[in-house]
Symmetry: C2
Subunit: 408 residues, 2 copies
């Protein structure tokens, strides 16, 4: 791809109300555009990263046996009334009337998926059910200050599983926890699982996937001997008093909830078990926000000059900067070999092109210049070292790297 | 994929208020579920078809040089006020207030894309811009009777192009028209381009992509010597009087609008041209609804027993029905060869399995039965003929067919 053709170039300006690192670099790099507080367009570069993240998550969900669906975003009041959340979630939910009918916008999908399940499940033979979708969530965030980490509108992969027994639910719950850990690893994020309270959802502990980050809004606690970290809510006085407890700030990138019977009892989502008795189904739900993940990568993987993308989700694996000469042939060659390549073909100075390459953050930068005597300068974004390589060596290394990224 | 594991099985029941063929077969086949009037969940089988349709469209859009983005669904009133459509489109738009701010849900994105373009385009060098996204549209349809052909909420691929001159806009406009024709062909739909009036959008003619269908809500007219069909609005008395004019009913699956300068003038979307003068940009927009396309395929490709999917977008290329014996080995073998295979592994009667295979509509049905003396019965959905083939022949033919479908 030629940089001259990409919609939205780098800019030095950032809106004054954007204080987060993710918003700053993503806006400056032309990855996102801001429509209003808490609402962003994914521009071509940003959409590429998000689609790669999505594909990694999809692959891991499919491996657990989950099936992809797409549920509506506009919901009738009646279904939300069944669990009482039309009232209890009023603050966070966008609700409105049109032609004497009341609607809510999706802020989550438990009620909708339960309505679906009660229509299609009648026997234990129909269970378990494992459904996920990638779709938009709307939440009325009063303070939307964290860039794309906390939007009024954002993308979410939500998975719901329904089971005949608590044992089956628990078994799958931990299978999804493993799938989440693997997905985040592939995306380039090291996650820590933290136990949390279930709040109004469940009396069981829920689990959060946290990424250590200076800028994180969350605090989690780690201590020797604990299997999982703990979030603030569930720390006891005894825990707090330990001298070996370590507190870290972090960003939550995913969460899983063993919801149990509450929804099925309120909504009468029943099945006939092997013993012929009608029983409520066991529900768990699981969420990852691809746009939040995108912002988190920037928060934890950047330097003073810009973003440092992991190869797996980088919009392009390599960024060609040519100085006083044309590198179109190299671009075409790499492209024909299946490498995701970005070529800065603009008629601009070397300084501007090099600083834009740092801001944009592709894993590898190639400099093509008459000074290099027929060789190409190879530099990886996260190091300061440069090497001079032949074109064949460059092609070989990039084809190797390309295997670690998602093909769109 | 084993049919026993798929969420939502076939059913003989259809909601009474669903009169269309697409709703009947898609609901009975477990392709979609109805949440409320005009609002459907894409179930696993339906989502597979829709994702294949999406991928065909994406490929054709990319070939025209368009870039994929994702624009928000929740819009501030201020932007819609700039063109006056907050008032003029009030009937069709969902509008509401929250915390003293007024919002609209996306029913189209011209205003939003123009806001984006005016922030990022300043010179003729930044043009043309060609941006598309796949996202949700909301339209307040008072009568939602046509199944997924006309929903209150539906998926749309919308493309917007901005140009420095009318000539450049017109050139790209027809390039997109060709891309649309190709995409529909690959999807299995033969389209007719019909000229239509621009309505409030433009004084130029716009163009619709129509599929001939008995159940269509539209009527278009064809006559010898006309380059394009005409829709009702633009038929003159002279046209009507011709004895060689033929009227056909049809379903609109796409449309393209050479919008011109109206939006850029109202919203002050300007660029500096080569001559140094500030000029408004030329805008065109283009839409295809993947869910509407899905419904249209069912309307034009079915028989009394069920759906007949084109290979390109069929959820699975082949449907194995085993009679009194296990066909797990064949399923695994085809699967390992990369064939999209559905295997009805249920403990059900042959009659039920065969009629479900007809309802679900995969392009090829294989019957594995002791009666076939080691061979496999091959039947294509659209014909009545059967053949007995060896396993090797079956594998070879299916691998060939698999090349014509979209790999998810």
């Amino acid at each position: 791809m030629k940089y001259s053709a990409i919609f939205a170039k780098t800019t030095k300006q950032t809106p004054k109300d954007e204080v987060s690192v993710n918003a700053k670099f993503l806006l400056q790099g032309g990855y996102i555009d801001k429509l209003m507080a808490g609402s962003y367009t994914l521009l071509p570069l940003g959409r590429r990263v998000e689609r790669k993240i999505e594909q990694i998550i999809r692959t891991e969900m499919d491996k657990t046996g989950a099936q992809e669906v797409l549920m509506p975003l506009l919901h009738p009041k009646e279904i939300w009334n069944e669990t009482g959340r039309w009232e209890t979630a009023r603050e966070v939910m966008y609700q409105f009337e049109k032609n004497d009918k009341s609607y809510a916008l999706s802020f989550t999908h438990e009620e909708i998926v339960m309505d679906l399940i009660r229509k299609h499940v009648s026997s234990y033979k129909d269970l378990p059910v494992k459904l996920y979708h990638f779709s938009t969530k709307f939440r009325n965030e009063l303070r939307a200050k964290s860039g794309i980490l906390r939007g009024r509108e954002f993308l979410m992969k939500d998975l719901y599983s329904a089971h005949a027994s608590k044992e089956d639910m628990t078994h799958y719950y931990w299978q999804v926890a493993d799938a989440y850990t693997r997905a985040f690893e592939k995306i380039g994020l090291k996650t820590i699982i933290a136990e949390a309270a279930g709040g109004v959802f469940t009396s069981e502990h829920t689990h959060e996937f946290q990424v250590e980050a200076e800028s994180g809004e969350d605090t989690i606690y780690l201590a020797p001997g604990w299997k999982y970290a703990k979030n603030k809510e569930i720390m006891t006085d005894e825990d707090m008093a330990r001298s070996d407890v370590k507190a870290i700030t972090s960003i939550e990138v995913g969460n899983i909830f063993p919801l149990g019977l509450m929804y099925s009892e309120k909504m009468e989502v029943m099945f006939t078990d092997k013993d012929g008795r009608r029983k409520p189904i066991w529900l768990a739900s699981y969420g990852i926000g691809p746009t939040r993940v995108l912002g988190t990568i920037v928060e934890v993987s950047h330097d003073g000059r810009g973003i440092i993308w992991p190869v797996s989700v980088a919009p392009y694996v390599v960024h060609i900067v040519s100085i006083n000469q044309d590198a179109g042939a190299l671009h075409d060659k790499l492209s024909s070999k299946g490498v995701d390549v970005l070529y800065d073909d603009r008629d601009a100075g070397a300084g501007e092109k090099l600083s834009d390459a740092d801001l944009l953050g592709m894993p590898v930068r190639l400099v093509v210049s008459a000074k290099n005597a027929g060789k190409i300068e190879w530099k990886e974004r996260q190091t300061a070292d440069t090497e001079l390589l032949t074109e064949d060596e460059v092609v070989k290394r990039l084809q190797e790297l390309q295997r670690s990224t998602v093909t769109l």
